[in-house]
């Protein structure tokens, strides 16, 4: 067995021991509850959040695009970095207020309540589940590649082991204190990636040196239009690349489980701030490593192996193996939460609500976990027989999601006329257009990014569908409230704890009744 494989096994075993130790500690304590969240301090929480956000895309997809297309790849990074800010300042405020008024805990529940339509929930859930599984398939492929490098096994065998480990971990891991394991992994990955970047820059003479050497290989790498100026003047493609990350995530069906602290805590707010800062730092690093590989690894066979290959180039074998083990473990950690969310949406939002209203809790868990197993089987088949690139799969999943949800979300806070028929048309037209555009490679003929094509069709869908439906009667008053926001100074508004909304609303009624 390769030494690297032994390092990986020891690493996984170490994580298991840490997880079990902290789980046992948590369940032995009289006062602490499982799943209740822990106060770890903002910096630790932030690193944990960052670690679970580091997916196969960041370690394989992003660098691969940069390696193949040069500076053009940064259009995607700009969308990623700027998207959160645009969202927070433009849409976010209104959507948060609307979401509070509707009492919605997830984006899909939000759309259902806003437009008064269970059909929206079904269509939205189906699209989300497909997206989530698509995203997880990309993680599967990444895990296969990481394991292939670590163990020296053939890709298909490494993939089977990788997916097997992920699925088993997801359904039998119980309550492992993942915050601690994520924290340790976060440190390894941050140190590893930053380490590679530093060594790379020293080797290449900084950013200017890197650019000079890239120019010697092929100056078109430095152009914003891609290698060989493949996308020159194609604003439809560039706009799609920027938009996809800036708005695609809005359709993520992240379900918020409400937490109430029993102690005074300021951890969460600080953590979000720290995590946002981390994110800004890390959005660009994987792409920079891709640029370095153009110079340092000109004969690299698989572009998605940029980071693992650079790690072995700069670090002693064992350290590189530890970094790659951390990457593999992070992929597991990202995949398990996505798989569980997709499974739970399927069992609760679709099966329980629309198929069997009296299903027992055990039946629901079984359905959820069976769908995870099925996803594993389909994922392996796809990844072995028709393996798309990690980048392609993530972009496709994000694109379908953004195209299905962006127009309905914008309309939900800005339009008085929007209604369920318009929203359903917008969701279906947007999503389906992206699928057709991508699968038939229409971008090459039309010079229009699939995301932009989907966006245009989604807007048209909304405009065509709206005349056939009726808006909810209560919406005019609510939209005015949403537009006006809270009657408090801005400095207070930005510190408001949104989760106190049900209490605030009931206390308000209590005071009025007095």
């Amino acid at each position: 067995m390769k030494v690297d494989a032994i390092v990986f096994l020891v690493y996984l075993l170490g994580l298991l021991v840490v997880g079990i130790y902290f789980s046992r500690k948590a369940s032995k304590s009289v006062d602490n509850y499982l799943l209740g969240g822990r106060s770890l301090g903002p910096a630790v929480t932030a690193l944990t959040m960052q670690s679970s956000a580091m997916s196969g895309y960041m370690f394989m997809g992003g660098p691969a695009l940069a390696f193949q297309q040069g500076w053009y790849a940064l259009w995607y990074a700009f969308g990623d970095a700027g998207g959160a800010i645009v969202n927070l300042s433009v849409l976010g405020k209104r959507m948060r207020r609307m979401s509070e008024i509707l009492g919605a805990l997830s984006p899909i529940e939000y759309l259902e309540k806003r437009f008064d339509s269970p059909a929206i929930r079904i269509v939205g859930s189906v699209i989300s589940i497909i997206f989530l599984f698509g995203y997880v398939f990309a993680q599967f492929i990444a895990s296969g590649k990481a394991l292939e490098q670590l163990t020296g096994l053939p890709y298909s065998m490494a993939l089977l082991i990788g997916v097997g480990v992920i699925i088993s971990y997801t359904v039998t891991g119980g309550y492992l204190a993942v915050v601690w394991t994520d924290f340790i992994q976060g440190i390894i990955m941050v140190v590893g990636v930053v380490g590679i970047a530093i060594f790379g820059f020293i080797n290449l003479g900084g950013l200017s040196g890197l650019n000079e050497q890239i120019a010697q290989v092929d100056p078109s790498y430095l152009s914003p239009w891609g290698k060989d100026l493949a996308y020159v003047g194609q604003w439809g493609v560039v706009l799609g690349a920027v938009l996809i990350y800036s708005i695609g995530y809005m359709g993520l069906p992240h379900v918020v489980v409400r937490h109430m602290s029993m102690k005074s805590t300021k951890t969460v707010k600080g953590a979000i701030l720290y995590a946002a800062t981390w994110n800004q730092l890390f959005v660009f690093t994987p792409y920079l490593l891709g640029f370095m590989a153009i110079v340092l690894l000109p004969n690299l066979g698989d572009p998605e192996m940029v980071i693992p290959t650079l790690a072995y180039e700069f670090f002693p074998g064992i350290l590189a193996a530890i970094l790659l083990s951390a990457v593999m473990a992070a992929i597991m950690s990202t995949s398990d939460s996505i798989l569980m969310q997709a499974g739970t949406i399927l069992s609760r939002d679709i099966y329980l609500r629309f198929i069997d209203k009296n299903a027992s809790q055990n039946k629901m868990v079984s359905i959820s976990r069976l769908s995870i197993l099925a996803a594993g089987v389909v994922g392996v088949i796809v990844a072995i027989y028709q393996p798309p690139s990690v980048f392609g799969l993530v972009i496709f999943s994000f694109g379908v999601l953004g195209n299905s949800f962006m127009v309905p979300y914008v309309a939900s806070v800005y339009s008085k006329k929007a209604n369920k028929i318009g929203v359903l048309c917008a969701m279906i037209a947007g999503g389906v257009t992206n699928i057709i555009w991508t699968s038939m490679e229409l971008q090459d003929i039309t010079f229009l990014h699939p995301f932009l094509a989907g966006l245009i069709m989604s807007i048209l869908g909304m405009l065509v569908g709206n005349p056939f439906g009726k808006k909810p009667l209560w919406i005019d008053d609510v939209l005015n409230d949403v537009k006006n926001g809270y009657n408090v100074p801005y400095s207070l508004d930005k510190n408001v704890s949104r989760d106190l909304n049900p209490e605030a609303s009931n206390i308000s009624k209590y005071i009025d009744s007095k």
Partner: protein, 162 residues
């Protein structure tokens, strides 16, 4: 009429609330009006399942808002004490203890399904079901004749406009 109730210890005094808000918003004046006690059910469940790795799983705690029925997971067992209190500071309960237990079980199972890596739902056994009142400060704010109201959680220091 005075009645015995369970409640949380107040962690933020009037002065602290004023100081904290003033730090955030220097141009406003704040008047800390009074305390309002908000009703919740505190529910504690034991989770039983013999698994290969973990043995007995442990406990899970939640609160159910006794007005709107909204559930929340909680981190630690709340520090509650019994005291006598006048009715005019308390909001009336809408949900019965039995209904709260049902809502709580549904909420806890859903949370487990989202967050625990399990093949079967563990046996969930209700161990505690207690009505308690959480203190909130009612705060009046005033900035250049623009008046506003806030509700300030006296246990955690979180706040929300009314």
């Amino acid at each position: 009429m005075a009645k015995k109730i369970w409640t949380n210890e107040i962690q933020f005094s009037k002065e602290e609330v004023n100081r904290l808000l003033q730090q955030m918003e220097k141009k406003s004046r704040f008047t800390i009006d009074r305390l309002i006690y908000y009703p919740y059910y505190f529910l504690e469940y034991g989770l039983k399942e013999k698994t290969l790795l973990h043995g007995k799983v442990g406990k899970i705690g939640c609160t159910i808002d006794s007005i709107s029925g909204v559930g929340s997971l909680i981190d630690v067992s709340p520090n509650l004490y019994e005291t006598e209190m006048e009715g005019n500071e308390r909001i009336d309960v809408h949900l019965t203890q039995k209904d709260a237990a049902l809502e709580g079980e549904k909420f806890v199972c859903k949370s487990i399904s989202y967050k625990m890596k399990i093949l079967r739902m563990p046996e969930v056994e209700l161990q505690k079901n207690l009505l308690f009142y959480r203190p909130f400060w009612l705060v009046r704010g005033d900035r250049k004749k623009k008046k506003f109201l806030l509700v300030f959680d006296a246990v955690t220091g979180k706040f929300h406009p009314l």
